[in-house]
Symmetry: C2
Subunit: 284 residues, 2 copies
């Protein structure tokens, strides 16, 4: 790689998986993490492991911010003072509009691009990291006022190396899309969990099977990550909630007043939509 | 087994899996299915394969009804005329109150019990059947006015043989529980699918990842099966929809007017509920 000296900030599921995937091709890997429990793993993996951002980003070509979104915003604000000479910056945050706005505020000596690998697990942390996490998955890139060609080249090279598929999107478009296919599914999963738990007995869990398990899987997502996501994508998320509420009301009306045929048509239409989604997904 | 002559009506995922699991221990297996595409597989598996109910249930000890719920109700109404001597009857239908009411109307020469194996896949049909489908899963049994000891014994023997765990529940309790852990998850999955499809472009599916895939998996469930479920469990399902709507409204209020701490508390509480559900499930 052209970029051989990299600092990854945040050794969680995403940063950790990226560190594992990139490690063989780097001459210098620094890891910044302020969790004392994570530091032993960081020391084993990296040339330099530290809780000090200034120490970690010293003399690297590229800084990859892999913390929850609001921490990324704070880190971006700190970079100009500790790297007055500038560097390449990329992030892996789950929402992109606020981060790209902050990137655009960096001094011109920086080159920055927003990134979001569209993969994950509900199990957070480096313990669940794996170098193959990104293979075959979509990796969104978001340009902003600081996206010089050299950071685009570096980002595409990293994406190629981890086997992901790059997709360039405007930050706002990205945030609206993930509100629909990621943040709303989380909230619905959480609402299902809360609804069942409110009437819950261990016997209810005993009767529950794989359908309940899968629809509530996202309810086990990291609360801190979700808080940052929801707070930085509030408008798009509320818009999706309104759309979902419309669908729920429609279902209730069909159950209350619809004919058997009308309800049947709605069920068949849902089935066709799911089939179409699967077909498109298979072709990608 | 004491019960050695069995007729399974409906060679779908459930009936087919049960036929595969029980086949080795039966001296006579009859399969009734009116789908011409299924009959070749039925002929291969069974001693007798037919589309004619009267032919299939002739001279068997036990009839297992494994069709969608409303078809089970019709089949139960036909049994007295074609088996005036009576027999043992069990079903695998997804809702139990209406079926158990119909079972209680059978002449006293019948002995009947409601059954519902709490497992499945979103892929319907015999092509997806497997003899191990029930192993380790909960199998609900519902007594009714015709549940004589001899059908209870037969049902428990079958459950033991397929490696499932029996759980006796009153039909109404069963229906309320599955409304919460199965029918509501389906509807929520369908609502998510409809919401995303309404704004859908292939690019939206490209960005979607495993979270969307898992939360919408149930949207691919068999529409005919779902129609019968919803029509025979309407009251409990609407009650669950109301509860879910309450949760969605609460989330929206938190996003609109809640403090960061309040939203964070709700996310953490959701996470704890999911963890508790997983822990209980693991111990079962």
């Amino acid at each position: 790689m052209n970029v051989e000296r990299v600092c990854i900030v945040g050794l969680g599921l995403m940063g950790g998986s990226l560190a594992l995937a990139l490690r063989p091709s780097l001459t210098h890997l620094a890891i910044v993490d302020n969790n004392p429990k994570t530091l032993p793993a960081a020391h084993e993996l990296a040339d330099l492991a530290t809780a000090d951002l200034a120490e970690g980003v010293k003399d690297v070509d590229l800084v990859i911010l892999a913390t929850p979104v609001r921490a990324i915003l704070k880190l971006l604000a700190q970079l100009p003072a500790i790297r007055p000479d500038g560097c390449l910056v990329m992030d892996l945050g789950s929402t992109k509009a606020e981060i790209c706005r902050a990137m655009a505020q960096l001094p011109p000596v920086f080159a920055a691009i927003g990134g979001h690998p569209m993969c994950g697990k509900e199990m957070a942390g480096f313990a669940n990291a794996e170098p193959g996490l990104f293979a075959g998955e979509t990796f969104v890139l978001c340009e902003n006022g600081r996206t010089a060609p050299r950071i685009k080249t570096a980002a595409h090279e990293i994406i190629r190396q981890i086997g992901a598929n790059p997709l360039e999107l405007p930050p706002q478009t990205h945030d609206e899309m993930v509100a629909a296919i990621s943040h709303l599914p989380y909230l619905v999963s959480a609402a299902l969990m809360q609804t069942a738990a409110a009437q819950g007995s261990d016997r209810l869990w005993q009767v529950s099977a794989s359908g309940f398990r899968d629809t509530t899987r996202l309810a086990g997502s990291d609360p801190q990550m979700l808080l940052d996501i929801l707070l930085t994508n509030r408008t798009a998320v509320i818009d999706q909630i309104d759309k979902l509420q419309g669908q729920i009301i429609k279902i209730k009306q069909l159950l209350l007043w619809g004919s058997d045929a009308e309800l049947g048509d709605w069920l068949a239409e849902t089935w066709r939509q799911h089939k179409n989604y699967q077909n498109v997904k298979r072709k990608i």
